[in-house]
Symmetry: C2
Subunit: 213 residues, 2 copies
Amino acid sequence: MREGFQSDLQRLTAQLAEMCDAAAAAVRHATDALVHADLVLAQQVITDDDAIDAQRARCEEDAYALLALQAPVAGDLRRVLAVVYCAEKVERMGDLAAHIADTARFAHPEPAVPGDLMPTFERMGRLDAEMAERVATQIRTGADGFAELRQADETVDTLHADLLSAITGGDWPHDQRAAVTAALTTRFYERFADQAVSVAKRLDFANTGDLPE
Amino acid sequence: MREGFQSDLQRLTAQLAEMCDAAAAAVRHATDALVHADLVLAQQVITDDDAIDAQRARCEEDAYALLALQAPVAGDLRRVLAVVYCAEKVERMGDLAAHIADTARFAHPEPAVPGDLMPTFERMGRLDAEMAERVATQIRTGADGFAELRQADETVDTLHADLLSAITGGDWPHDQRAAVTAALTTRFYERFADQAVSVAKRLDFANTGDLPE
């Protein structure tokens, strides 16, 4: 049974890593859809989000089955519960990517945000995707990439704050709609990065037993 | 042991109900702070949020202890895990209320949003608070108030959508900063309501065993 538990847990964490890959792909594609006003790609991200939701539900059901059948304790219990916690966060990352795609879809055929902001959104999208991929690697290899993750999150926070300042700073050259769309969109990117950090923290807790702040 | 488990579980769900009360108070006070540009009250909400965070951590630790010591299965397992899930959502409700308070604090001594929008924000704040209180009642009495909760959430969604339309509709009489602040603030209210619905759904799942969509 002990061996059965460890291989079940391994399967469970592999599912979580796959979800992170899917979230990374989602935010990459959503950003491409945003930057290129690509309706087909935007629609694809929104459709694909159902698959991430389904992965989360399966992950959770499998975790519940594992808890009920094997009643793990201490570190093993923490690791199973961490997967449940993280799966929900990664599902949220997928939702946020879908919101970005939806923003592009809603504005189509116009670009959703002004051209001069596109490089910033591209950068936030790349950072978000890399963070999700880094978490996937952390899950698969146990590598500790927390410092890099935290740094990427800080960069996203700074880009987000700078963008909000630019929008509200008084010399914004675009209209109201562009201001509001840009403000909400940058927040989606910022929240995506926050979730990635939450996941990494929780995985760390699963290993150390110290609840993250 | 069986009896011990049930009373422990009861204590755990009572903690969750208290957290919901605290989140309701937080969004009520944050809304007052927003509407009256009340710096002291805003500061209070932000400080009080630490207590909600601490409640969440305690709730989670107690749930883990219960799982490890009693290894509940089936419905009991679901109920314990539901508390962990919900505590995190309610903590997020507190965070969103703190964001609203922070918006009021940042703008002080100016009002954060234009006076003509205040009635809408007041209404959203009242709906959010009532939703959190309804969830607390659901936890305490087992009463099924899901239909009313869903209806309140739809009203919040409509107010949110109408507000975004008004901001971006072309005849917005205020400046850019007011537009962006109002757009982000209305989203905080909308997300608060979403979390309340998530909590109610999860509590329902804990009782029925059917995972919410």
